[in-house]
């Protein structure tokens, strides 16, 4: 169920050592980290690697096929696709990772509180969770982005309001199971306050599962950011974004199909690397 239970600080050290040993031996994790690393480095070094200015338009050089000068060709405004891909990666990765943080934190907190205190608090949070998941993910995200305004702010607000649900559920289950265990009773009996029990003892035990889930959530947010971009509700031009690139290319899908296809491949690559990292971490922590 959860990772290695950490009852005292002593066994925490042992748990950490075992984790790193298993982590080092996991081919999934290593491959995932390498893939992810390449991606992060490439997009971070975008200003250096890019061959052109991603915003530089050219009236005559539109829709050029891939060539030596333009590795992936140009789009309808003459902008170099390869350079745009790199900068779009920078934007999309940054936003996906940042937007994943708030729901991660709030979800864990609400899950811990819900599972630990139980009672009406648990019931209320549970109903809120049910309400949120009743809405199809894209419907509610699109509605919130619409209400707040398209662009980065809308994206952050949307995922902050909606994304915490997955963590809350997972953490709640583990917390409820641990709440009734002997060592928690011992800790409380020893005079520890609720806060201390939660922070020092329960939190380390729910973190592994939450982090594994985080990987999946980042993928989902990334896909959503790109989808919103495609729909015109995401990152606004002129900032390059894989979604808007796909949307731009749709008009030319009959002749220059790669303009829309290639950004999608980048998203898939990101998804695979994060998925491998998540699986690898899960194996190392023995989390299902």
């Amino acid at each position: 169920m959860s990772g290695l239970p950490i009852a005292t600080d002593g066994s925490a050290r042992i748990a950490r050592q075992t984790f790193f040993t298993r982590a080092r031996r996991s081919p999934t994790l290593i491959l995932g980290i390498i893939m992810l690393g390449l991606l992060v480095v490439a997009s971070a070094l975008a200003p250096i690697i890019a061959t052109h200015d991603p915003a530089a338009q050219s009236l005559t050089g539109g829709l050029l096929p891939p060539s030596f000068e333009h590795l992936l060709g140009t789009d309808q405004l003459g902008r170099d696709i390869f350079s745009r891909m790199l900068f779009a990666g920078q934007t999309d990765l940054r936003i996906a990772f940042l937007a994943a943080l708030t729901p991660f934190v709030t979800g864990i907190v609400l899950g811990l509180v819900s599972g630990y205190f139980g009672g009406w608090l648990d019931y209320v949070i549970g109903r809120i969770v049910d309400t949120v998941i009743a809405f199809p993910f894209y419907v509610i995200v699109i509605s919130i982005v619409f209400a707040v305004g398209a662009g980065e702010t809308g994206i952050f607000v949307a995922f902050a309001l909606v994304g915490w649900v997955g963590y809350a559920r997972v953490v709640r289950v583990t917390t409820t199971a641990m709440k009734s265990s002997a060592w928690v009773a011992a800790a409380r009996g020893g005079g520890l306050s609720h806060a201390r029990v939660i922070l020092r003892h329960l939190l380390p035990n729910v973190l592994p599962q939450a982090v594994v889930l985080l990987m999946s959530e980042i993928i989902a947010i990334m896909v959503a950011v790109v989808t919103l971009g495609y729909l015109g509700l995401g990152i606004q031009p002129p900032t390059p974004d894989w979604g808007t690139m796909i949307s731009d290319g749709q008009t030319f899908v009959t002749t220059k199909w790669w303009i829309s296809t290639i950004p999608g491949l980048a998203v898939i690559y990101t998804g695979i690397s994060l998925s491998l990292v998540g699986d690898g971490l899960g194996d190392a922590w023995r989390v299902k």
């Binding site: 199809p136 707040v148 305004g149 990334m222």
Partner: protein, 316 residues
């Protein structure tokens, strides 16, 4: 009859708060951002007079609680979230008009998902560790990062542009054309659902295949085909139904997005049109209906599982 009453009470405790929650959430959608909702709808360049008029029209001058009650009243009594600001027709009418196509799409997507997923899962489970099994196990990892709309585009490129088997977009006229137009979009949505469905079905099938009762049935000489269809599939389909009930949410959301890719005139285009026109009531209406639909379908599917599994019926 005791068990149905218990089920009913349990359902009421879970469902009614969610319905209330959904209505409240949709109500507050308009008020997510601090500031005057009317100004937000009309935009920066709106005149004070038009803003005041809209405030009056939307009842924004009443106390907040009153507005909430009025809103809930409209929803429960008229099935409506007010009139469209653009078309001046009730949102319910607009939704009812556009819903059938979207529902058809969802239905077709479910059909494709089940057909493809069951076939793949059975093949993978029967030939465990074979090529098909390995391929099937890798698909979820790759598929997780595939945007559904992009899959739709890919299908267009492949089947509409290159192979010309299906139209590129829109709904055709004539006897078969509409159905043909829905194939690619439905396929795009279903491809998102298939990987988790196959993964779950395969693992369920494997568990059931190796379970003792299958050996008992085989040992008793019951023909393989009957064992598979009369017993194995039924046992494996129960958790799948549960998974399906969870996937309804994805199906509806994915359909709305995919409609944009293929230029289909369903709820999706209604939603996005409303977004371009700042038509808040319609956006609220679509969101509300989608959520209620998800709740309804989950309820029905859970009831179906309850009916099919004798263990839940006599459970305390």
């Amino acid at each position: 009859m005791r068990p149905p009453l218990r089920w009913l009470r349990r359902t009421l405790f879970a469902v009614v708060p969610v319905v209330i929650g959904v209505v409240v959430a949709v109500f507050f959608l308009l008020r997510l951002v601090p500031g005057d909702p009317a100004r937000m709808i009309l935009g920066e360049r709106a005149t004070p007079e038009s803003v005041a008029a809209l405030r009056e029209q939307l009842g924004l001058n009443k106390p907040l609680l009153q507005q909430l009650v009025d809103f809930a009243g409209t929803v429960f009594l008229h099935g409506d979230t007010g009139n469209s600001l653009i078309y001046n027709v009730s949102t319910r009418e607009l939704i009812v008009q556009r819903a059938p196509i979207s529902l058809a799409l969802v239905g077709l997507a479910v059909l494709f998902s089940l057909l493809i997923a069951v076939t793949l899962a059975v093949l993978a489970a029967r030939h465990k560790d074979g090529i098909i099994d390995h391929v099937v196990r890798v698909i979820p990892t790759i598929g997780q990062g595939m945007p559904t709309f992009w899959i739709g585009l890919l299908l267009i490129i492949l089947f509409a542009v290159t192979l010309k088997w299906f139209p590129v977009g829109g709904i055709g006229t004539g006897p078969l054309e509409p159905l043909r137009s829905l194939v690619l979009p439905a396929l795009a949505v279903s491809l998102g659902l298939i990987p988790p469905l196959v993964r779950s079905l395969r693992s369920e099938l494997l568990e059931v295949f190796s379970s003792d009762f299958v050996t008992t049935l085989r040992a008793a000489g019951i023909p393989e085909r009957r064992v598979v269809f009369g017993h194995i599939l039924r046992n494996a389909s129960l958790p799948t139904l549960t998974l399906l009930s969870v996937s309804v949410s994805y199906l509806i959301g994915g359909t709305l997005v995919v409609e944009q890719v293929f230029g289909i005139n369903g709820l999706g285009s209604l939603l996005f049109g409303a977004i371009s026109n700042r038509d808040f009531p319609v956006v609220q209406g679509v969101a509300l209906y989608c959520a209620l639909m998800v709740v309804l379908v989950s309820l029905v599917l859970d009831g179906l599982v309850w009916l099919l599994d004798p263990r839940t019926r006599s459970a305390s």
